[in-house]
Subunit: 246 residues, 7 copies
């Protein structure tokens, strides 16, 4: 109970340090991330795969409006987990930043630079008063001069680069699956398959094409491409045929 | 009781995260939505139907002043549920935004773009201090180049696209009715009928023309059109004649 | 007692939502309205009648200084109930707004538009921090191109249009009387009589000309007109002669 | 005791409504007025009399420095009760406002207009945060085109017009005396006598010329005039000679 | 104990009214004045005498640096009691104000006007939030066109004019001595003697020249003059020779 | 328990002093530093060595993204321990500051000057309200005109110059090892070896090349140089061959 | 315990008065000064000596970086005790202020004027909200036109002038030693000796040259001069030879 009342002392007003050097508001924002449905990113030599579970609360809801994957620029995609409205703010920031680079310098923004401008923005909300942290984690995938990159941003404003990463609910189980199954030489289709299997891992269910959203950012001319539902279905069919041990 | 006092800790001052990653002020604002009378939106191939219950507290009150449906632009209508004065602020924002688009670019604003500018505004009030969230949900219905669209905004600043949706009191029961009865190929008149039946669902009462307000936004020249009382009455008469199983 | 301490949690600092979606500061401001002496508005085909009880705490106080009725423009009057100094701020706002319209566009402001500019101002004080809501309700009566209009504003920033309405102490009893006795085809004099009877209703006392203030806003050339004491006295005499059943 | 703790909840930070619709900080400011020595205003057909008790805490203090009566303009005087430094701010505001009118329009400011500019300023301090209300009441007496006017301002920012009024400690007893003894046709000298008797009422003591301060604002050329000590003494002598029943 | 906790409720954040109409932060600032060593002012027909006890905490401290008397202008001096750093701010304000008058109008500022500009500044710190009151009282002594004036400022922002006044620790005893011994026709030297006796009163000790600081502001050409240590010693010698009854 | 509740009193809102003159928020920020993995700096006559442990939480995480060593300018490197996102803000500040110097004056910024601009920024966040301190310590190593310098910054905004220093978890043990083994005449390679041994000290494990990051800032043309993984491996191999007593 | 909880009430948010007229945050800042190692200033006819103990927490720390003595201008030095980062802010302020005087008027700033600009800055942080006081005391020593001056600043913003003064830990014992041993006719070397003896007083240890830092500001051409380590050693040798009674 003391732990309870001690925590309460640190979450009011602004984001401040607890006696053991933690920022509770940031940690609570991480809980908001865990409450969101999972997203997965997989980096392959030919591009980055982003995939996300979509929870559609009613058959009358348009699936496309439960947006978990976002095109930030021709060569960059973003997956999110956590507070949806917060995610949209950060995605909009990324888009404006990418457009600004295009306008000012006539070139595509570097994926790492773009990620940093997002995490700088996130960090600011953890230090200066009068605002709460962003309750969202992002996976930022893109291609720089033919080289695929995959970054994660967390609510503290830290970024990490990954070969394959998961964010959101059941993150640990999904990440464990990725660690067991990821191979650096996957082609993009295999990356999609890995991502879909990983997302279905927690429940060990068969993958259902309609409850996932997949995009690829490849180092050919296509750049960001949302994988169409029909393609997804044939991929899923193959997966389900091949079974878990494929 | 502990739950009680814990909640109190998170709803003061600004909107901050609780230890389990929730934003209580936003959740309380959702309660304000539930306290409002219900509104319904139905998308048909020819346009969007918006309908709302109106609670008139005295026979001397002008029914028109209990405004639940609003014309935001020639091609966009908004229904609301929750805190009435908050709703008016968002409707005014939508109108200014639509007019601005008209003035700057000489064209009608995209329904999705308009919805986003509303939810961006809502989200801002959930993150920066010194203000409470908006205690209102909206249904934004409109037509883009002949294509009907129907969006919902919630107090967190999230938007969803729907085929048919309900907001406000008894939302779950009404949404359940919509899910059971909605067909994608309804014509506008059938959409009106569905909306009226849905609104009367919770009490299973016969629909009364005078306690509802209906508007349609169609992909013909009419655009936003408030359905006149006399039309409503004949529709209602038909419904009541046809019974529940029609 | 828990209800007590729970309420206290929601009324400090800024206006925020309670767990059940209510804004306590706004509800407390409504209590401030109930503490004020009553005002009544009656709409007739020829104009609007505003009437108010005046509590003069000493025979040495000038009755005219207990202002409950205010001329906002040639064609608009305002009655108030609640915190007197707050009412004056809103009346001044209404006057500036009406004058601005006159200066900018050379025309009288629409009564509904004027009311909205007041309720927008009121709503702002319920959402952004650092200020309390306005503790006052207004009746805004006026004539637009020959058409009488009567609006009410409440502390949440909502407005309603009425045929006849009461605000302030004993509001429910007075409104009940209006609902029972109002007829849409009253002439202005009958409207005055109805208003005076309604104001005397709670105590079922005879009306006293000196404790009421009456103004009319008519669709002839007169516009806003404060009814002189001598006229009031003869009207009251008639009422008292006619008895309650007239 | 609960009443105690409940009150404490409403007087911190900013001025907010209590559950029963009261503004405690404003009510506490009224207590500050009651803690001040009394002032009295009497309106006569020929001008306004202002009179005030002066508490001089030491024989070495200059009586003139315990200022309770202030000349705001040639034709306006102000008496105060309550927090002395607050009163000076409002008197300075009145002077600047009167000078501004003189400079801009070349004419004396209307007494009612001047009073309103003071009460508007007071009201602002009761609604917007970060400041306490003014702990002072004023009597504003003056002459407009030959017509004497007497207004009171209170800490809520309300103004009242009076024939004769008292503010400050023992206000109720003094006001009662004024109500019993005031006649509308008093000449200025009789007004002074009434004011002095009223001030001495609570203790039923004989009036002492040295413990009161008197000013008149008359509709002749004199305007604001501080009544000299020697005049006061002869008036007081007359009063004391005539006894209480004069 | 309740009194204790009630007081605590009113001294946080900003200066607000207690239920009985008091401003605790201002009253606590008065306690800060009482914690300071005493200062005395004596007005004579030929000028004003300011005198102050100086507590030098170490023989190595320069006596001149324990500044209790300050020259504000050629014709104005200031003595202080209370929070030393606060006093310096107000003295600096007085100097800037006096210089400004000299620069703008080419004349010496009126002593009363100067005092008012100080008390206006002090009052502001008692009403608007985000700052504490000034914990200091001042004696402002000066000469206007040959007329000596002596004012006191207190932490509420009130000013009083005195013939002779004391501020700081043991104020009541010193003021009592002044009331008993002051005569309006004292010459300046007798005024110095009176001031020194008064300062030594509380302990009934003999006056020690080295523990006091004396300045005179006279209506001859000298204006503000700090009385040199040697002069003080001979005066003190005379006093001590003459005994208490001189 | 009292100590507990006393501490809670000092860590809310802004950084304020405790009764014993401590700034708890700063001390808690020091705890955040201790939660970070360790970094070490070693100054040699030929340059500065920076080394850091890297905790990579998953084999799929890119080691390079767990950035603990940063190039601030050609001649300056920064190692960090503590809150990662805070560190990035300070490193960015350092970079901007170094570039500004280059742009304005065409020369490399002095290492001490650069450090001071960082600690000034840190100090500001410990004194003015509305923000928390930075939860990070830095080692700033560089070369000024051929002279190697090594500074530490702490969360209070203090800087220290070192021959060899450790920050982060197990700081005391690592610093003890450095104190025992440091010699001022080490060459850079020996400095690297010392740094690696020190980092492995707490657990007394053999050094693993893949869990450390090393950079050198030397007074030859190379300036800042990140030591490549292959070089690190051969160095580590030598260390492990030579044993602890080498 | 009550004293405990009472104190807590006054140290939050901003610096406000306690019921007994004290500013706890300022008093706590004085505790921060006492936590700092001691500094001593000695004024001699030929100049001022500043000396400070230096606590170097590790043999690897550069002694020069534990800066306790600072050159503010060619003719002014500053010693500090307390919060190190706060001291640096004030020293920087002093330097900017001295440079400004040089730039604007082409002359050296007066030592007293410089001290005042520091204490004005300190005072401001004790009165206006949103910031804590400075947790540092300074000794400001310098020479004005050949005249040595020595000032102390404290956390309240008060300054004192001294012949010889100590600040920081064990201040009372050191000051006692200075009071016993100081003579006004010391030459600078004797002043250094006195300062060193005083600093070693608390522990009655022999002085160690390496744990002290000494600077002189003399009225010859040298101005501010940091006494070199070798000079210090020979002085200390002499002291230790001469014993305590020299």
């Amino acid at each position: 109970m003391q732990g309870q009342s001690q925590q309460q002392a640190y979450d009011r007003g602004i984001t401040i340090f607890s006696p053991d050097g933690r920022l509770y508001q940031v940690e609570y924002a991480r809980e908001a991330v865990k409450r969101g449905t999972a997203s997965v990113g997989v980096r392959t030599p030919d591009g980055v795969v982003l995939a996300a579970n979509r929870q559609v609360s009613s058959p009358l809801m348009e699936r496309s409006s439960v947006e978990k994957l976002h095109k930030a620029d021709d060569h960059v995609g973003v997956a999110s987990a956590g507070h949806v409205a917060d995610a949209r703010q950060l995605v909009d920031l990324a888009r404006r930043r990418a457009q600004g680079e295009q306008l000012r310098y006539g070139q595509q923004i570097d994926v790492e630079t773009l990620t940093r401008s997002i995490t700088d923005h996130i960090q600011e909300y953890t230090q200066t008063g009068g605002a709460r942290p962003f309750g969202v984690a992002l996976l930022v995938g893109g291609v720089d001069d033919g080289e695929p990159r995959l970054f994660e941003t967390d609510p503290s404003g830290t970024d990490y680069e990954w070969q394959a990463a998961a964010i959101g609910s059941n993150r640990d189980a999904i990440q464990g699956y990725l660690e067991a199954e990821y191979r650096a030489d996957l082609d993009v289709d295999a990356g999609i398959e890995l991502a879909l299997r990983a997302l279905s891992e927690p429940e060990d269910e068969t993958v259902e094409a309609e409850s996932v959203d997949v995009a690829t950012i490849t180092n050919d001319d296509q750049g960001y491409r949302s994988v169409p539902a029909e393609d997804l279905e044939s991929i899923v069919a193959e997966i389900d045929a091949g079974g878990d041990d494929d």
